[in-house]
Symmetry: C2
Subunit: 304 residues, 2 copies
């Protein structure tokens, strides 16, 4: 019996600082409707899909910072997206800035939720590889993500939904081979990714033409080396003066790009993913039980 | 002060079973001379560069098996290659079948030696990821490498030569992200690889057209994600009736292919590798001390 799942990647164009949250949610709902019309059963949205990529700025005013965060999901402004998912009978993964109180302490994470069509949380991932710094570093494009987010504390979890095992990763996570390997060892079949990636690199201008190659290369290798499907959604276009790359894509366990966004705007790409391809690809080179040598990999878990 | 090293990859065409070892060494010497003429300071030869890829056969006769192995390096038949390196003032890495006696026990490894221009061993690597099986598996292209070789017992060592730090990997090793990561954590700047890779896949004929993509993808990702140079030498062409892919290449720390062989025959490709590119690439995304999260990677070293 063939197993498949139709995946949608909902890329967004820029979400300017001036955009009202309601207007942004309207765009996400419209994307979800397009995905459903194309037969999708699950959709993935970008990292920080509800706001501009605010870590590009140093902000000191606490109220101004908190306005970028969601204290509850769904909240009054995002409920409509959850309602749309129920109406369209599809799940989605959404990146957002999470504000939570744990043991009386306020904590902030760069988070992605996997939500079922019943509007219930299937699973939550908090970004492990938080790049950037907490203070500006002049002459670089290093942003201030570490000022606003602490590193994720939920590991690399995998969640079952519609009989398929999903992992999630956020932006910089996708560059590290350990991300895919951890998700694969935890049983992932599909990895959902959201990202915001600047086009320009002040610290290495000679490498700027490689930004899209460096977007796809680690995801394609991650898919191939772990025999997983990867579905990755960019926030793209010029957002508050900063150019972000697009290149949202769906990658097969062969490492091939099965579908790719061709704009820097709101765009839906869809692919009916053959989940049986995972076992076929694994048989060829990656029979882990037979061939992996974890005793030889100690340093990977011991040394920065 | 700019640091660079000119690397040669010496791909070979097939080495038939009928070939005399002296004739094969002649070919390797000729390749080394071409590499030196192009200004190379180090050359890498394929896996099992002295013989046919004999693990494609089940052989029971011990003498017949041992004829494929080298009990000493250099030996009477390989000394000329070492002499050529001294004359040409260049080092080389050579894959071969190693026969050794340790504590009175005969052991066999799939090995690559890094040899200096003084003919002295700089360092030895024994293949960690030994694929295949020890008994034939009809209907597949699974070969019998595990019949003839035990897994390497030297870890993923890194050796200094000419002021540059070299790691080595052999064939199937190159498909695993852990190989590059271990070598990188051990300080490698250049990873030398040799391989023999069949073109056809009986167990997954629909994936056969991806063989070259699956050759380059993990090496390009390995180079990019670990900011190392990769130099990989194939044994190519139809060897004893089996088609082997070529695609020997030199890959920059950007993940880009800087040079690639265009034949399935004896061929030398050369690239003057800018070693400073390693630091530039690392600065952009891969400041390990700042961003790696080894405490989150435990499973990679604990679970097959």
């Amino acid at each position: 019996m063939a197993r498949d799942l139709t995946i949608a990647v909902c890329q967004t164009g820029p979400i300017q600082k001036s955009a009202q949250r309601a207007e942004t949610v309207d765009r996400l709902v419209a994307l979800l409707e397009r995905a459903a019309a194309a037969g999708a059963e699950i959709a993935v949205f970008p990292e920080l899909a509800l706001t501009t990529f605010f870590p590009r700025w140093r902000i000191d005013d606490e109220a101004e910072i908190e306005a970028f965060f969601e204290p509850a999901m769904p909240g009054p402004q995002t409920q409509r997206l959850y309602d749309a998912a129920a109406r369209l009978k599809m799940g989605f993964a959404l990146g957002y800035a999470e504000l939570t109180r744990e043991d009386g302490v306020t904590r902030r994470f760069n988070t992605m939720d996997l939500v079922g069509q019943d509007g219930k949380l299937v699973g939550r991932y908090r970004k492990i590889h938080v790049p950037g710094s907490s203070e500006p570093e002049p002459g670089t494009t290093v942003h201030l993500e570490r000022r606003y987010f602490e590193p994720g504390n939920l590991g690399f979890p995998v969640f079952a939904y519609r009989g398929v095992r999903f992992g999630m990763a956020i932006c910089n996570d996708r560059r590290w081979p350990e991300t895919y390997r951890m998700l694969c060892l935890n049983g992932a079949e599909i990895v959902l990714i959201g990202y915001n990636t600047p086009l320009l690199l002040d610290e290495a201008p000679a490498l700027a033409h490689l930004r899209m190659f460096h977007n796809h290369l680690p995801m394609q290798a991650g898919a191939y080396q772990n025999t997983v499907w990867v579905a990755a959604a960019a926030k793209a276009g010029v957002e508050d003066g900063q150019a972000l790359i697009g290149g949202s894509c769906i990658i097969a366990p062969t490492g091939e790009i099965a579908a790719q966004a061709m704009s820097l705007d709101d765009e839906v790409i869809v692919h009916r993913a053959d989940l049986d391809l995972i076992a076929i690809c694994r048989k060829v080179n990656f029979d882990f039980a037979r061939y992996r040598r974890p005793d030889q990999y100690r340093l990977i878990a011991d040394q920065v």
